[in-house]
């Protein structure tokens, strides 16, 4: 599995850390570090973390084994959001 966090958008709510502590960790008060290539055994937990992030900052691939993404605002959606 692969994942990337848009750390401009991330606000350090640490929901992801709660759901997938072996993938995400806070470094200090609010800096997020994560493993961009987590092991398959993390799939369930990672899926929950992606869903729980209040600002949809996490994009993951391989969550359902089809290579589809966990991000809803793909493509243009995100551009509109940031592009004002």
């Amino acid at each position: 599995m692969r994942l990337v966090v848009d750390l401009n958008r991330c606000q350090g709510y640490a929901q992801c850390v709660f759901f997938a502590p072996d993938v995400f960790a806070l470094h200090g008060e609010e800096a997020l570090v994560y493993d961009p290539h987590p092991d398959e055994v993390q799939r369930e937990r990672l899926a929950r973390a992606v869903a729980a992030c209040p600002v949809q900052a996490i994009t993951a691939e391989g969550l359902d084994g089809t290579g589809e993404t966990g991000e809803t605002a793909a493509g243009t959606g995100e551009a509109v959001l940031h592009g004002r």
């Binding site: 994942l3 200090g28 997020l32 290579g67 004002r84």
Partner: protein, 464 residues
């Protein structure tokens, strides 16, 4: 073909070529497909790897929390592209609409996206740069090599340049218990990007974490031993430091050499493009089939006086790629301007540093929340009486609010009464940026080009 027919044809069976297969190239390819482009798509990249993420290379990777081999970017969707990886584009014929490759091949396009980014500026003296133990950090290969050296527990790491990358490297080394010296030409770390007031805080952070920080000095020479391994760095103040690892963190150079002679307005500062991401040719005439995105682009921004911004920011690469891709396959009236408000993050010494806007334009700075002594604050930057940027240390949740202030050109000093404000924050002070004509390590935001008062190159994009 009439315009509409051409577009319909382009979207159905045109050829789009993307040069530079990294963050911007990948996100552009995904956007093209997401918006219905059904023609042929080719991605050309000189690195032999599929697109990977760079920010972890100076953070999680050095801390041992991620593998340098595995930061590949997740795909948002299938892109059904032809990948030409491990081969560089070496030339562009804009009249024949062909990209020349290092292996002699040529690839024809109807629309071209240039996303060739930047590369690390090497140590200027070649014989010294070749010494064993001298590194730069930009690519996956760089990270693999550097991480391997860190894993062998060097006695000291010497970092040249205290910009974001250099500071992050120093932070990771300290966390691993490795002795670190940082040499910076300016008076503090991060000065080029955030100014002297914030730079002073960054400098205190480094020293508190045991970094041997040397400011106001230049490295004059790297010395090797008989076996060709680096053994010491010599400084302009006459001192020298023994070290077995040197990381050269002197900023980046734009990858535009391959465009020499193409007629595009491409040079060491990047490729100039309009707010719609269309490249300018060297005459200052905008092209309509060549687009630019990511670190290699320079584009005018209405919020910042139409100055041409070159941003080495992850979020800029993503958003500009999305806008460029959309515009590549859209009619003029449906095109969008790239008017993303610059945003950046960095994690170092356990502190989350984020900024919005263009701090480098700031004349004044004011601590609006929190306190520098606690390493937890927000500072706003003012330019001609308006808020132009903000930076936060461990206070990221507030930045959106400041982004709004920037977007609406809210007055500076800000006059809101609700946020907590300590004594130190009541008065604006000079933001203390170095003279831009004296290069430091290379700021992450650079301003260049013409101002509206100087009408040679100005045009006005529409806002939506």
């Amino acid at each position: 073909m009439a315009g509409d027919d051409f577009l319909r044809w382009l979207r159905r069976e045109g050829r789009i070529v993307i040069v530079g297969a990294s963050l911007a190239g990948l996100r552009a390819a995904e956007t093209l497909r997401a918006e219905g482009f059904a023609g042929s798509l080719t991605l050309i990249g000189d690195e032999p790897y599929e697109p990977y993420d760079r920010p972890p290379l100076s953070k999680a990777v050095l801390l041992g929390k991620a593998s340098p081999h595995h930061t590949e970017l997740p795909r948002r969707r299938e892109i059904d592209a032809t990948w030409r990886l491990g081969v560089a584009a070496t030339g562009l014929d804009t009249a024949a609409k062909r990209v020349r490759l290092a292996d002699g091949d040529e690839v024809a396009y109807d629309r071209l996206l240039i996303a060739t980014g930047v590369r690390a500026r090497p140590w200027p003296r070649e014989s010294e740069a070749r010494l064993d133990g001298v590194f730069v950090l930009r690519t996956r290969d760089d990270a693999v090599r550097f991480r391997r050296r860190l894993d062998s527990s060097p006695g000291r790491v010497f970092v040249i340049g205290a910009g974001f990358t250099g500071s992050e490297i120093a932070s990771a080394c300290r966390e691993r218990g490795i002795a670190v010296t940082v040499a910076e030409r300016a008076d503090a770390p991060l000065v080029g990007a955030l100014g002297g007031v914030i730079g002073a805080v960054a400098g205190e952070l480094q020293r508190e974490h045991g970094v041997d920080l040397r400011t106001g000095v230049m490295v004059t020479a790297l010395e090797g031993d008989a076996a060709g391994r680096v053994r010491a760095a010599h400084l302009s103040d006459g001192t020298s430091v023994e070290t077995d690892v040197v990381v050269v963190s002197l900023g980046a150079t734009r990858n535009t050499e391959w465009l020499a002679g193409s007629g595009l307005g491409a040079g060491p500062r990047g490729i100039a493009c309009d707010a719609g991401c269309r490249a300018f040719d060297f005459r200052g005439i905008v092209t309509d089939d060549i687009f630019v995105a990511g670190d290699v682009a320079r584009s005018p921004h209405p919020l910042f006086g139409y100055q041409f911004l070159s941003l080495e920011h992850w979020g800029n690469a993503v958003t500009q790629a999305e806008t460029a891709a959309h515009n590549m396959i859209s009619a003029s009236s449906e095109r969008r301007p790239h008017i993303w408000v610059p945003a950046f993050w960095s994690a170092q010494f356990g502190v989350n540093i984020k900024s919005v806007g263009v701090p480098g334009m700031g004349e004044q700075i004011m601590i609006t929340q929190g306190s520098r002594a606690e390493r937890r604050f927000v500072a706003a930057y003012g330019y001609q009486g308006r808020v132009i940027a903000a930076v936060s240390f461990d206070n990221a949740r507030w930045l959106e609010f400041y982004q709004r202030l920037i977007e609406t050109a809210a007055p500076f000093p800000p006059d809101f009464a609700t946020v907590d404000r300590r004594a130190e924050g009541r008065a604006p002070m000079p933001a203390d940026f170095p003279d831009p004509s004296l290069p430091t390590h290379g700021p992450t935001v650079t301003l260049s080009g013409y101002s509206p008062a100087d009408r040679r190159l100005v045009f006005t994009p529409s806002r939506h």
